[in-house]
């Protein structure tokens, strides 16, 4: 865990690189280009950047129209607005026709911080996961974000990518290869498995190190693509370690935890604990404080890991 970088910064830089490589790429933002980092692209390619103002529904529809013209639109705003305000536009104008629109939302989860519960999206992954044709990606760090954005640009079809506001530790090596629909075993282990996504993956790696000191061998499986889910990797982890702890900076309703529960219930029932925001709205505070407040730290994962061992 060397460098710290915000996934939104990695996005902005990668998008600007891609703009030079693929002239089909266009970018739309809703008055948040400084925060979502699409402003980096806008500076380099002003003719292919459209600020649509504070009007997310129209932004998503316009992107669908551009996609119908063969363009590859990246649409960015905060997760709460991309998924909340424009949900039906994402469904009807993007997912239903399988339009080649990439919705890259930043400021997902409670680490939005001080802005408070109104701006902290804890439901977006659940909502996007329920939409047919939609691919849902939640990168763990800057390295994965870069690789994922490139994979998303090359993929033909609707994608939702959820990024964060704050700097997060880098967990992946620079040569990490991202593949849509494939999870990654980051830490080998035999006693239980942490199945995690987004910034919780770094916490799981730290938790596994702590548990190792206690003589517990915890596996860490990172799920970068929540839909389509890497069922094989999850079932393998359940079979081999016998207990699963999921962790996500998202509601435990409908997100990664639910997705994993669905797979386990049908294919390999083992003791499961879901770590996430427990069906509550967020609240104002510093990001680090909020992660503690909502039980989203390595310490909480260690505790959950111990509990799972007793349930095996």
């Amino acid at each position: 865990m060397s460098s710290m970088i915000a996934t939104r910064d990695a996005y902005g830089e990668t998008l600007a690189e891609l703009g030079g490589e693929d002239p089909r790429i266009v970018v739309l933002d809703a008055d948040l280009s400084g925060s979502t980092k699409t402003g980096v692209f806008a500076k380099k390619f002003p003719e292919r950047f459209f600020n649509m103002g504070i009007a997310e529904a129209n932004m998503v529809g316009t992107a669908a129209g551009l996609a119908a013209m063969g363009r590859v639109p990246f649409v960015s705003t905060f997760a709460i607005f991309a998924v909340g305000r424009a949900w039906e536009q994402v469904r009807q104008s993007v997912a239903y026709p399988k339009a080649n629109v990439k919705i890259v939302a930043t400021h997902g989860g409670v680490t939005v911080g001080e802005d408070g519960g109104s701006h902290q999206s804890v439901e977006d992954v659940a909502i996007m996961r329920a939409v047919p044709n939609m691919t849902v990606i939640v990168p763990a760090d800057g390295v994965e974000t870069r690789a994922a954005i490139r994979a998303v640009a090359a993929y033909k079809g609707p994608v939702y990518v959820r990024l964060g506001r704050n700097k997060v530790p880098t967990v992946f090596p620079a040569d990490y290869r991202f593949e849509i629909g494939k999870g990654t075993e980051l830490v080998a282990g035999t006693d239980l498995t942490f199945v995690t996504t987004g910034l919780m993956t770094a916490q799981a790696v730290a938790a596994a190190e702590q548990l190792k000191k206690e003589g517990v061998s915890a596996r860490v499986v990172h799920i970068g693509t929540i839909k389509p889910l890497d069922q094989e990797l999850i079932v393998k982890a359940a079979r081999e370690t016998g207990a699963i702890v999921t962790a996500e900076e998202h509601s435990i309703v409908g997100g990664l935890g639910s997705a994993v529960a669905e797979v386990l219930a049908e294919q390999c029932p083992v003791p499961l604990k879901r770590i996430g925001v427990n069906d509550r709205f967020g609240t104002s505070g510093k990001a680090e404080e909020l992660l503690k407040y909502f039980g989203l730290t390595a310490e909480h994962l260690v505790e959950a890991g111990r509990e799972m061992l007793s349930r095996k």
Partner: protein
């Protein structure tokens, strides 16, 4: 010009017959709004638009977006008549397995550009197409047909704002202002008037016509093409159910199809013999 008008008027009459027969076969779908829109749809598909039924994705085509997607039968009969797919397909409207979905679906129907039907979303997609054509440096045009009830959707005005902001003079919106929506008079449910004034305030150029006067439709479409610097809207006053006297101006026929008993009478209104 007169010959052209007469030709298109006859084409529109035939398409009205096709709409009535199609909706009688499906026993599900939107009659009133299809009949009010068909004169404009006819003018676009059989005169104004550059398109190629043999090659629906031809790059040089103009684009049509049926924002009021529930009038799908109007677009479907025009597409079938133009040769995008066999006329027999119309009899499968809304049936399981048919490419003719209840509302336009670009995944299955040749000639349909985007998926519409959820009101208020079409104009945004039309704006995106207009921006795309400009990026591609093509002189093609985008035509978006909206309902007047549809103007109650806030997204329409977001799109109107964006179209003017980005000066999309390759975009022509048409409002099929038949004055009725499901629950009754547009003025009583939620008044959207004055329509043209609203668009003008959003930076659009506006033309107001009788939406069943073929010569006026053609003249407005030609004029819209000459108006530069921003988008144009043609506000067309129409009659819901136009052409079938007992359907006309009745909100009840928004989503009701001709019954077995009504079919011959409807066809008679349209100057067509019924051979049932």
């Amino acid at each position: 010009m007169n010959e052209l008008v007469t030709h298109l008027e006859e084409k529109a009459r035939q398409l009205r017959v096709a709409i009535v027969k199609t909706l009688h076969a499906s026993q599900s779908g939107h009659t009133g709004g299809s009949l009010s829109a068909i004169d404009m749809v006819t003018a676009l598909y059989f005169h104004k638009m550059r398109h190629n039924p043999a090659d629906p994705s031809w790059e040089g085509r103009d684009r049509f977006v049926l924002c009021k997607g529930h009038a799908a039968p109007a677009q479907y009969v025009a597409l079938a008549e133009a040769g995008y797919f066999p006329r027999e397909d119309l009899m499968m409207l809304r049936r399981l397995g048919s490419h003719l979905q209840g509302h336009p679906d670009s995944k299955g129907t040749p000639g349909v550009e985007v998926c519409t039907g959820s009101l208020g979303q079409g104009l945004s997609m039309a704006v995106g197409m207009a921006l795309g054509l400009r990026l591609d440096q093509r002189d093609n045009r985008v035509y978006a047909l909206l309902g007047d009830g549809e103007l109650q959707e806030g997204q329409v005005w977001e799109a109107a704002m964006a179209a003017a902001h980005y000066k999309t003079d390759n975009l022509c919106a048409m409002v099929d202002a038949n004055g009725l929506q499901i629950d009754g008079d547009v003025t009583k449910v939620m008044n959207v008037n004055p329509i043209a004034d609203k668009f003008r305030a959003f930076g659009w150029q506006t033309l107001e016509i009788d939406g069943h006067d073929m010569a006026a439709i053609l003249a407005a479409l030609d004029q819209a093409e000459t108006l530069k610097g921003g988008p144009t809207v043609i506000v067309a006053r129409t009659v819901k159910g136009k052409g079938v006297s007992f359907f006309e101006n009745k909100a009840a026929y928004h989503g009701v199809t001709p019954s077995d008993e009504e079919l011959p009478r409807a066809l008679e209104c349209l100057g067509e013999q019924c051979n049932l």
